[in-house]
Structures are given as C-alpha cells and as structure tokens.
C-alpha cells in the first residue's frame, strides 16, 4: 500500500483530500491528512465579525465534518519533514513515511516580527486575521467614541490583499451608521505606493477612498510601534498617531517549514508557479498560502489550484509530464461598504479589468464596479464554501483557468 500524506486541513488541504479521495485507487493508495487544530475557520468571514455582521458560529466548524470517510485524519502537530528520506515526524515522536506529500500548511500572522506590537496587543492594537483578534476588535468597537482609527499593512505578502481595504470601507459605513464618522479620522497606511497599485484598478477605484474620506499614507515601512505613545514609526522616521490600530502583522508560513529547511525568509516553500510541484523534491507538492508563488494568498486561488494539482498528481503517479496549467487565477468579491461590493477576476498576466462575469454582456456580475448583486454574491459565498468548495463539488461556470470572456482586456 502506498501512502499519500497531506499536511494541513485548512481550505487547500481539505479540498485536496476530497478531490483525491474520489480519484485515487484505494486498493493501491491510502490517504492521510494531518493538522494540529480541530476547528476549521471560514477566514473570509473574519472581516465581518468586528462590525457584528457575523458571529463566531458563522465561521467555525469541525474539520471532521469536511474530511471524507476513507481518508485518515490525524489530529497532531507535525514537527518536521525529512524530504530526503520521505518521512515526517510528529511532535509526539512518531515517524510516518510517505510516497507522495502535499504541503498545505498555510500562512498566519506573526505580530512578534514588529517591535512594540505585543505591548499594545488587544489593548489599542488589534488584528482581524484571527477569530480571537476579530472578536476582541468587536468588543473594542462597542466602546469606540471617536479618534484616530488606523488600518495598517505591515509588509507583503498577506492573505487576501484586499481585506484591509474592505475593512476600511466597512468601518466607514459602520461609523456613519453609529453617528461617529465625523468624530473619527480613518487612516489607511500601506508599504505600497498606493491603496490601489494596478493601473486599471487605480483609475476605476481611486474614488472610493476620496468619497469615503479615508486618508492615505503610502510607502510606509514600519520599523516599530510605540504602544505607550500610540505611534507607528517608519524606517525613515515618519510617525503616524493612532487611538485604535487595526494592523495586518507580517504573514508567515508555518514554523515547521523553517525547521525542515524548506522555506524562504518568510517560511514559504519554493514551488513551481504553474505545476505546483516543489522545486526541491519531485514527490512533494505545495498548495495554497504555503507556496512562494506570486499568486494571491486567497481561498479562491487554493480552490483553482486544487483542481489543477489533482490532475498533476494523477499525471505524476502515471509517470507522465505535469501540465503547467495554473495561471494564477483568483476571483474575489471586495466589500465596498453601504451594502455594495466589487468583483475582480484576474491571473498572473491579466490585471483586474472591467467587464461582466461569468457571461459576456449579460453577466450578471459586474467586474470592477460596485453593485448590490456583488455584495449578495459575497454573502452567499459562505454557503458555497461550507457546502460545495471544501467538499470539492464543482461550482457551475467557475473554471480553474481564468476565462477571458466578458473581460475588457487591453
């Protein structure tokens, strides 16, 4: 019996377990998935928790509910991967051999990377990239009476690069509803050259910040946080004061990747951006936020990758050449506040553009334009995630490779 082992039972790992469980010959292969935590989080939902739109119950399920029968689930921490000898060691000391390994260990925030952040943590400084942070921020916002609210990105890459913008837009709507907008200065601080950095998006969406009165601080490389004086301080000694800091700390791959000698300076695994095979070991494949590929770290990306990786693993097992089919495709709803959202659909080569989705002209979704329908799409997506996406049930009309239909590509 040959062994296929999946490390990580988040979105990417769970989807792979479901795909492969349907495709692999069980007389020949056993599938094992390993994760140290029992809870599965719908991470896109964290964004809504600080504003009371979602509660914890909307975003948490048991991982057991999504891992198919026929796949062994080990609830333990992985200590290291010894890729040279095709084995993994668990924190409990056991060693497991594998014939084929899928790394799906994701990325998470690491506040310890920024000096001073821990001193104000969950006092005046919050994240919304964890359930704990989003809930703590919800409690803090209940007592908000006004002041400087700063939304801050520490460094790239981060999971869901548009989430900080969405947070700012939702905060603006929430503040207006509470009658606190004129008492609150909303400031967006980014290490990039703007809130929008792609030419078409900049032109199409630049108005959003202006319309909502959100101040922008660009090219800000944070050196440290002075939690006592409530200041962000940059490498070139520019200071931004805050009363409430909503920060996206440095995102990093799993510590185990570093301890296994498989990661870069942020613990991401060197991966072929088109085949998703590890660059160092042919029988190791990498998916989702754990890779170093230049695609967005997002659930939709993991979803498209999973379809292509499943095909490539089957080809690999037959000794055939892999297909370089992953094109960097991402498809994201972006909340823009006031019950509206935008939709973007893009890949490595095509930036987000205007158009209709999924059909030319009739849409019904509008790309890169605010609409109520896009917002409904975003809210319906939670159901699709729990009931279809994780279980690897195909979503009609949504293809792994980006379609050029309906897009106004220059």
């Amino acid at each position: 019996m040959k062994k296929l082992v999946i490390l990580g039972a988040g979105s990417a790992g769970t989807m792979m377990a479901n795909h492969l469980n349907k495709k692999l010959d069980k007389a020949e292969w056993s599938i094992t998935i390993i994760d140290e935590y029992e809870s599965h989080y719908y991470q896109p939902g964290f964004l809504f928790i600080p504003f009371g739109i979602y509660k914890a119950k909307d975003v948490v399920r048991s991982k057991h509910d999504f891992i198919p029968k026929g796949v062994e689930f080990i609830l333990k921490r992985v200590k290291t991967i010894a890729a040279e000898s095709n084995t993994i060691t668990l924190a409990s000391g056991e060693t497991l051999p594998y014939d084929l390994l899928i790394i799906a260990t994701g990325a998470k925030i690491n506040p310890a990377e920024t000096a001073g952040l821990d001193e104000g943590w969950y006092k005046d400084i919050f994240d919304f990239y964890t359930l704990e942070g989003a809930k703590a921020l919800y409690e803090r916002l209940k007592t908000w009476t006004g002041g400087k609210m700063v939304v801050h990105i520490t460094e790239l890459p981060i999971k869901c690069p548009v989430a900080p913008l969405e947070f700012s837009f939702l905060a603006d709507s929430w503040l207006r509803k509470k009658g606190l907008r004129d008492k609150t200065e909303l400031i967006y601080v980014t290490p990039l050259s703007g809130a929008f950095t792609k030419p078409t998006s900049s032109k199409a969406l630049g108005y959003l910040l202006e319309e909502k009165g959100i101040k922008l601080v660009t090219d800000f490389g944070v050196m440290q946080v002075d939690a006592e004086k409530k200041k962000l301080i940059s490498y070139d000694e520019i200071e931004v004061d805050y009363d409430l800091l909503v920060t996206i700390p440095t995102n990093m791959g799993d510590r185990m990747i570093e301890e296994s000698g498989l990661g870069d300076d942020l613990n991401y695994v060197a991966t072929d951006k088109n085949t998703l095979q590890s660059k160092a070991y042919p029988n190791v494949f990498v998916i989702g936020d754990a890779t170093n590929i230049p695609a967005s770290k997002a659930g939709s990306v993991a979803h498209f990758e999973a379809e292509i990786l499943t095909e490539n693993i089957l080809l690999f097992l037959e000794g055939k050449p892999l297909k370089p089919d992953f094109d960097g495709h991402a498809n994201c709803f972006i909340e823009s506040g006031n019950g509206k959202a935008l939709l973007i659909d893009f890949n490595y080569d095509v930036e987000p553009v205007f158009g209709t989705f999924p059909f030319p002209i009739i849409g019904p979704m509008q790309l890169l334009r605010e609409s109520r329908l896009n917002h409904i799409g975003k809210m319906v997506f939670k159901w699709i995630y729990w009931n279809m996406l994780l279980r690897a049930i195909p979503i009609p009309l949504i293809t792994a490779k980006m379609s050029r239909m309906g897009k106004k590509i220059k």
């Binding site: 792609k198 090219d219 050196m223 490498y235 230049p294």
Partner: protein, 103 residues
C-alpha cells in the same frame, strides 16, 4: 504605453514611467532615470539595483524584507539611498515593475 528617450535610446515606459521591457535597460538608462527623480547613483545604489534585477529575473517578488536580508544594505539604509519610497524608486531605476498588490 509611451515612448521615452533616455540616454539617447528610445524605450517604452508605462503611464507611471516604469520601463515595460526590462531587457532594454542599461546602466546609462538607469543613470538617466535616477537623475529624473533627483538621485545620484553611488556604488551602494548599483549593488542594490543589480540585486533587484537578479531577483526579478529569478521571479522573486520584491520586498523591503528581501532587500534587508540581502546583506547589501539594511532597510533603514535603503530608505536613505532611495528617500520617500525605496521600493517604488529603486524598481523604477532598475527598470523592473513596481511592487504591486492584486488591485
């Protein structure tokens, strides 16, 4: 896209002045681009620019952390070399795309 004359050569740049064909880059063009944004290139600048071009050709995404870990200059030093916006300015001079997000 617009054509621009830099150091006596015609090169194509985008609306923000970034070269669209990294292979058209030369040291003379870099010097001309740097002069336009008020930077005089020293040996240290050149080391950073060579590193950025090498990283770009290897498909590595540009970040402050990567340059800071390169052993050439720390992040504070990078801000002194390219004041105001080290990544966007160094990328412009190195003839490679500006670091960007997905939108």
């Amino acid at each position: 896209m617009v054509q621009k004359t830099l150091a006596g050569k015609n090169v194509e740049v985008n609306d923000e002045g970034y070269m669209t064909t990294p292979s058209e880059w030369s040291r003379d063009i870099a010097t001309a681009l740097a002069t336009e944004i008020g930077i005089t290139l020293t040996d240290k600048h050149w080391e950073v620019l060579e590193y950025l071009r090498k990283s770009f050709n290897e498909g590595v995404a540009l970040s402050l952390r990567k340059v800071g870990n390169s052993g050439i200059v720390d992040i504070k030093g990078l801000y002194s070399l390219f004041p105001g916006g080290p990544l966007k300015k160094s990328a412009l001079i190195a003839g490679i795309p500006k670091p960007a997000s997905c939108v």
